[in-house]
């Protein structure tokens, strides 16, 4: 069976935290634990303007929502992402999507 992963098109991630809370709700994780950790990365462009990036990182507590995806549902974070900028699928499918996305990252948490 093809290995699955999470792809983040972080051009559009707004840092809204829906992924983190969706994960906590799905798995009933307590404070201090979560399957997604959102990072903020602020960098200066050569013209001194700022680029703000957010990146949801799947932690060791991410199981890619196996029970959900087995039922044919999206992982909780992917479904609820307000910017609709998280993708779940096989690595081959995700890699193909990445070809047209200049700022993207692929994660294989399991």
């Amino acid at each position: 069976m093809a290995r699955n992963g999470l792809m983040i098109d972080y051009e559009y991630c707004t840092g809204c935290h829906s992924c983190e809370i969706a994960c906590k709700q799905e798995h009933n994780y307590p404070v201090g634990r979560g399957g997604i950790h959102l990072s903020e990365i602020i960098t200066e462009r050569p013209d001194k303007s700022l680029r703000i990036d957010y990146l949801p990182f799947p932690t060791q507590y991410c199981n890619l929502c196996l029970p959900r995806t087995t039922r044919g549902e999206k992982p909780a974070c992917v479904k609820h992402c307000q910017a609709a900028t998280m993708y779940f699928g096989s690595l081959a499918e995700l890699a193909k999507l990445m070809e047209a996305r200049p700022h993207s990252a692929l994660f294989t948490p399991i």
């Binding site: 051009e11 559009y12 707004t14 840092g15 809204c16 935290h17 829906s18 983190e20 809370i21 969706a22 906590k24 709700q25 799905e26 307590p30 404070v31 201090g32 602020i42 200066e44 303007s49 700022l50 680029r51 703000i52 957010y54 039922r71 909780a76 479904k79 609820h80 992402c81 307000q82 910017a83 609709a84 900028t85």
Partner: protein, 772 residues
């Protein structure tokens, strides 16, 4: 789990066909879990969005909330606050029973009483005040959230008081100034077109993506879906479809960091900036000449006013380089269609309704009204209203004679023409004044619902505390014990969150039903509480058997009963619906005016660049800029001592105003009450990340923890509003830490705009910051 019954049938594209959509919303699924579809409106997320959710219930308990992928508003997406609903609904600190104060106010001594006793007490005390002083002596104050104010104006009017207000917020400076200005200039409200009126959304063949979206004083990352009529992330949907951004904001927001052009203006100077842009667009002939000729009134006079704002002058006022302003104006005017969204900071401009008038002129001059991808006229779905946003809607619900009679004693209506003539608020600043002076009549009681003014809503909260604690009878209705309830309430009534209540959402599209599927303790919905009390106080005003009957009557124009809407559970009016609630180009088709003639719902039938309605109210009929009450230009001597401009009130994605500080998953994300500073500013003040600092203004000081971030301007500071610490002592004098943290103590009341609406100076006060 498999959804059955209603689930798969709530498919987009069936608008206006209620009978074909019968389902079984109570369908059981395996594992004993029931899934209920409904709209999500506060309490819970705390918002005015229109999203649809699936509520998972097991053994009578809410176990999960997910987005509803068949709902057109967010297509299954959801905000953090909706997703944290299990922690909100099942929180051990939820108020679950009516409480009666048995100690002194603020002592924290409460006795559990029955609903019968609570309503009896409220009825008795309110009748007593009405008999002795008149119904106008009780103020009915709302905040925002929890269906907002539909049930509060309902109770106030049943009781006979004209004094329905957004208690504490100076100039009612949130949304109402926008509504009043747009309504006066255009006859309607307009919002950016994200195809929200079509069940097909972005696939609707009539819709096109705006070429440019102007995000003016509006953070996407904070507004999420908390906004009225428009959801923040629709901007991202549009960016993916090619929309470019112009961002106008003192803070470098995420959108600013993705924008083609970002104008970093000085807070409170939006009016000057808009007039500078108008000057460029008019001077360079970039406006839509055909639209201006046929559909606008007073172009020459506006052109003359705009000439008072040459770019070098505007640069000096706004701190934005002239060439950048020109570039933004040109890009906006020459990209068609273009849309513009703007936020609460404009309601806080010194002359808010003049500033918003200027923005109206921008989208009118460029012909971006009611066209696909522009700013579209927005009316409640099917013409159904549950919470009135305009004078028309208030009259629709309560009748012209009744409303005009109440206006005679409505606080502030005699002094402020816009307060008298638009919507039906009592003006917060004058309410406070009258509580203190008793003139022209005394105030004896406060019904405070969805409002935590001690921590959040009010400017100068201590002044409010002193005024309200002297009243004879105060009731607070809320979901948690708050600083406000602890400090001033005689009776506290427990309100239900959204899955605990029946309600209807009519703020924008679609029309949503909210349905009671769980119970928590003895909590009741705000509607139910006010319905029962209104019935006791004035049975004639409440001819319905229950709230569902009331909702069905109010839903009449949709052709749906409450039960029918619940089964869908949302509906959108079809195109060309006679209510005129669906775009586009309704002014050409005669769908906007009562007389069905082409044109806009204004006296001239045109968009009034020169606003005859303002003129008839004695207001300047043209837009203008007035400096903030404090600042480098208006108070240079204060500026020397207090060199930072303090911005407050940024929306948080995880908190709604003062809510959610006790929700563990949400608090974890923003654990500390912070003040944000540029790292270089902090360095010059010897302040490090996480240090406790004082924010001091001329009116006082509060404590915050420093958060260093380069998104803040070097000459500014930003403090999130609404902070209190539910984990600390709630009794007097601590009141959960509000006096330490509430930044509104630096902000005065009584500085409202000339029109009455707008002007709460919560983005523009001066401060200095130093280590504790």
């Amino acid at each position: 789990m498999i959804e059955r019954g209603s689930g798969s049938r709530h498919i987009a594209g069936r608008a206006g066909e209620p009978d074909s959509l019968k389902g079984d919303p109570m369908a059981d699924t395996d594992g004993g879990v029931q899934i209920h579809k409904m709209g999500a409106w506060s309490a819970g997320p705390g918002c005015h969005g229109g999203c649809g959710v699936k509520v998972y219930v097991k053994d009578g308990k809410l176990i999960k909330v997910e987005g509803d992928e068949d709902h057109p508003y967010l297509q299954g997406r959801a905000c953090p606050r909706v997703l944290a609903m299990p922690q909100y609904v099942n929180h051990p600190d939820r108020l679950q029973h009516p409480l009666k104060r048995v100690g002194e106010r603020g002592e924290g001594k409460w006795q559990r009483i029955s609903w019968d006793e609570a309503l009896e007490l409220c009825e008795h005390r309110l009748r007593e005040i009405r008999d002795k002083y008149g119904a106008e002596s009780v103020v009915f104050g709302q905040g925002t959230g929890r269906d907002a104010g539909g049930f509060i104006i309902f109770l106030a009017y049943a009781y006979g008081s004209p004094n329905w207000t957004l208690f504490g917020l100076s100039g009612i400076s949130c949304f109402t100034p926008r509504l009043a200005a747009m309504h006066s200039v255009t006859g309607d409200f307009t919002f950016p077109d994200a195809a929200q009126f079509s069940p097909q959304r972005y696939e609707d063949p009539e819709w096109v993506a705006p070429k440019v979206m102007v995000s003016w004083a509006r953070h996407l990352a904070g507004s999420h879906c908390t906004d009225h009529y428009f959801s923040g992330h629709w901007v991202v949907d549009m960016m993916k479809r090619g929309t470019k951004l112009i961002v106008i904001d003192p803070v470098c927001s995420w959108e600013a960091s993705r924008a083609e052009i970002w104008l970093q203006l000085r807070p409170g100077t939006d009016g000057a900036l808009a007039l500078g842009m108008l000057n460029v667009i008019i001077g360079e002939g970039l406006y839509d000449k055909a639209f201006v000729e046929k559909w606008t009134h007073g172009f020459d006079k506006l052109a003359e006013r705009a000439r008072d704002y040459p770019l070098e002058k505007v640069e000096a006022i706004t701190w934005v380089p002239a060439e950048k302003i020109a570039k933004a104006a040109r890009m906006y005017a020459t990209s068609k269609p273009a849309a513009m969204r703007f936020g609460q900071p404009l309601d806080s401009n010194s002359e808010a309704t003049a500033t918003i008038h200027a923005l109206n002129c921008l989208w009118a001059l460029t012909g971006n009204i009611d066209v696909p991808g522009g700013n579209v006229i927005t009316r409640p779905p099917f013409g159904v209203t549950i919470y009135p946003y305009s004078t028309e809607e208030v009259i629709q619900l309560y009748g012209e004679e009744f409303v005009s009679n109440l206006t005679k004693k409505r606080i502030g209506a005699d002094r402020y023409p816009m307060v008298k003539n638009f919507r039906a608020w009592a003006l917060s600043d004058v309410v406070l004044e009258q509580m203190e002076t008793g003139n022209p009549y005394p105030i004896k009681g406060l019904w405070c619902q969805t409002n935590n003014f001690l921590a959040n809503t009010a400017q100068d909260p201590k002044r409010h505390y002193e005024a309200v604690r002297k009243l004879e009878f105060n009731v607070v209705v809320d979901t948690f014990m708050t600083p406000t309830a602890q400090a001033i309430a005689d009776i506290v009534l427990p309100a239900g969150s959204f899955p605990e209540k029946d309600s209807v959402f009519t703020t924008g599209v679609p029309l949503n039903a909210i349905r009671k599927v769980i119970s928590v303790g003895e909590c009741r919905s705000d509607w139910e509480i006010n319905f029962e009390l209104a019935k006791r106080l004035n049975p004639e005003a409440v001819p319905w058997k229950n709230t569902r009957e009331l909702f069905t009557q109010r839903l009449k124009a949709s052709g749906l009963t409450f039960e029918e809407l619940s089964e869908r559970p949302w509906a959108m009016a079809p195109k060309n619906h006679p209510s005129g609630t669906v775009p586009y180009r309704r002014h050409e088709k005669g769908q906007l005016r009562a007389d069905r003639k082409p044109g806009f719902r204004t006296p001239s039938g045109k968009v009034e660049l020169y606003c005859t309605t303002y003129e008839s109210w004695g207001l300047d009929p043209l837009p203008y800029h007035r400096e903030p009450i404090e600042g480098p230009i208006s108070t240079p001597e204060v500026y020397k001592e207090y060199p930072l401009i303090l911005i407050t009130g940024r929306r948080s994605g995880v908190f709604f105003h003062s809510e959610h500080r006790q929700i563990p998953w949400l608090r974890e994300i923003e654990p500390h009450p912070t003040v944000e500073l540029h790292p270089e500013t902090a360095k010059s003040l010897d302040i490090n990340e996480g240090d406790w600092v004082w924010i001091e203004g001329v009116r006082g000081k509060v404590k915050r923890r420093a958060k260093l971030t380069p998104v803040i301007h070097r000459q500014m500071a930003h403090a999130l509003h609404g902070w209190w610490l539910p984990e600390t002592d709630g009794t007097a004098p601590n009141f959960y830490g509000v006096w330490d943290l509430n930044v509104n103590q630096l902000i005065p009341m009584g500085k409202q705009s000339t029109s009455g609406f707008g002007g709460a100076p919560n983005k523009t006060m001066l401060c200095r910051i130093y280590k504790v």
